[in-house]
Symmetry: C2
Subunit: 384 residues, 2 copies
């Protein structure tokens, strides 16, 4: 049976019915007082989600639009920047930075391993001209979480640099206290922890980030954050925003507020642990280095078995969509998204589907039920 | 009674129930074969709508994103361009062009009057270095339609220049045969003739436009149309697109296909005429010069009466949202949107609401019912 799809990719993620219903309302005028109230309420909720007193600006566009906006508003041609690169989205930062003529130093780690904060520290200590450190917090392509807190700390000791972070798959999944950690710019997208369809993206900016905009000389218009700041201060937008996605945004943020940040982070942490342990218990390997798995996504390396074969069979038999490996990891890994609107049932089902598939492929090395038992045990042991 | 809103602004425009229902479907993976089919089908339908064999690319973003993409992909810093400017959206073209360091010559007309094609001809004949002529087809701020066909013709006699047109409120409202007229780049947005909520925008490109991209040196990433071209040729997108708005797009384009281009243009033409004549018959003035009213929007100058007072009373009494005047026209004009999903009933209702309002304000100069009678007569005389 098909057409009973469950998304377990790292975006789009599943969307609650009430969010879909909000999405389907008749649009209203984007310059009306009613819409201004929605802009005001969602902006307040976005600040709450980012744990910041700074600004959070909503852009009609994909997450990449927010990433680009982060760079082109705070930097200038020829600026020295450090980009962390340990996956596809780290690579994307480098591409954006180079497209705008920044002078990029990359700090790399193998895909599957986290970035080393000490490497950032050492370059920062020896080069006062660095203008920005640009990293991916949760690297969606590998399921690795980078140590944004430590890297931000090193940047804070530097007199010129700001931290720009892609938190696309970490915001709404784990603790990212923007102000406390001193992250200056955060980019994110709606189809992730926000439990919404894609189409909106967000750029959070603190005072240092706004300070940096003053010397930025890169050309921009649609992604000029000054226009967004000027209008959001009047509860409005510089251009016609995606009105219906705003309806959905308000609904999903209210659901998140109702659940509470700690509960949301705890839920993602439980799901991450249950998934990781279940995968290990059935004899498959985790691709991310131990201790650096992302709360949003678990990458699985089914040594010796074609990862695409597993992924496709799980889709065909159970209509659960897992993500494949990207670029050189295609066929090497598959990725289980447990980001956003995910409950315990989804985790157990995903594990059960993978076990069932491995048995069908004659590749299951442990007794059937081992993975589900492991996942269930962890879910039962940890508080919801 | 409130909360029974009818949108008669030039965007967002009313959205059919079946489009809203499509919007509210659970998202699917944007790299899935199912979604690829949607990209393929919508792209084919977009080409049909633009009457082109060129490419039509879908961007997750506002119409302004498409406008910016049109410029930054085909031009270079310092390029000489002519911008037509006879309203707010003409001004926007100038702002985008200047933000990217283009060498802009503006050809102006008073707000309410159309651009003079001969002025374009004369500059083009005397300057072989012009790289682009950039104009607004239907100027939403004034309700004036510019003569894109004639202006394009003059550009075709020039060896270096291409035509870039903002057809945001003309595509899906009146005939814009891209290939026949030789328009090289067309920008548009979903919340207009497309009968959809805002959030997607479109850039149509012909061969000359692609040729121009080869020498363009302006920096870009999210709006780099080469990435869109490369991926649309594989029925995909460079970044996570607004999946749910794609569902809606397919539904609305199918409705449009079913109605047929000629019927759509005829419907808008009838509604424009009925609105214009009704307005004149009750003693109000049309703001757009006679013969240059846009099929998408009628601007009304209620000489001596505060336009905002009329607009607000119509909203309060009838829950019909009309648009106000922008910038120096605020209070001077109001605008009746008859763009997209609009039927005869909407036109009659809008006219009736305006007549009723004028009577309440003691400003009705003609017998009550005159406007409705005029509109009805025209609607009855012309074929649907």
């Amino acid at each position: 049976m098909q057409d009973k799809l469950t998304l377990m990719i790292p975006g789009p993620t599943p969307v609650p019915e009430r969010v879909l219903k909000a999405l389907a309302k008749h649009p209203i005028g984007h310059r009306s007082p009613e819409f201004q109230q929605i802009v005001k309420r969602t902006t307040d909720l976005l600040k709450w989600l980012h744990q910041t007193n700074g600004d959070v600006l909503t852009i009609t566009g994909s997450g990449t639009a927010a990433m680009e906006a982060a760079i082109i508003n705070t930097l200038s041609k020829g600026d020295k920047v450090i980009c962390g690169e340990n996956g596809k989205f780290g690579e994307r930062w480098v591409k954006v930075a180079k497209a705008y003529g920044l002078n990029v130093t990359t700090i790399k780690a193998n895909w599957g391993e986290p970035l080393d904060p000490k490497k950032f520290q050492s370059i920062l200590e020896n080069d006062s001209e660095i203008r920005a450190v640009i990293i991916t917090h949760s690297e969606t392509s590998t399921g690795v979480i980078n140590d944004l807190q430590s890297i931000s700390k090193h940047v804070k000791s530097h007199k010129n640099a700001i931290v720009i972070a892609d938190c696309v798959t970490s915001i709404g999944a784990c603790n990212v206290p923007m102000d406390e950690w001193g992250v200056d710019v955060i980019a994110s997208g709606s189809q992730k922890g926000y439990m919404m369809p894609p189409g909106l993206s967000f750029v959070a900016m603190n005072n240092s980030a706004w300070e940096a905009t003053k010397r930025s000389d890169l050309p921009k218009f649609y992604l000029d954050l000054q226009s967004y700041k000027k209008t959001v201060d009047k509860d409005s937008n510089p251009f016609t925003p995606s009105v219906n996605l705003y309806f959905a945004l308000e609904e999903s943020l209210l659901m998140m507020k109702n659940e509470g940040l700690e509960s949301i982070f705890n839920r993602h942490n439980r799901h991450m642990k249950a998934t990781q342990e279940a995968i290990k218990s059935i004899g498959l390997s985790l691709f991310a280095k131990e201790g650096f798995g992302s709360p949003a996504i678990t990458s699985v390396q089914p040594n010796g078995v074609d990862a695409e074969k597993i992924r496709k069979t799980v889709k065909l038999k159970f209509d659960i969509l897992l993500a494949g490996g990207q670029d050189h990891l295609k066929g090497e890994i598959f990725r289980i998204g447990h980001l956003g609107f995910v409950n315990d049932r989804d985790i157990i089902t995903a594990v059960a589907a993978i076990e069932s598939t491995l048995e069908q492929l004659n590749e299951l090395k442990k007794p059937l039920g081992t993975g589900v038992a492991t996942a269930t045990k962890i879910l039962n042991q940890t508080k919801n």
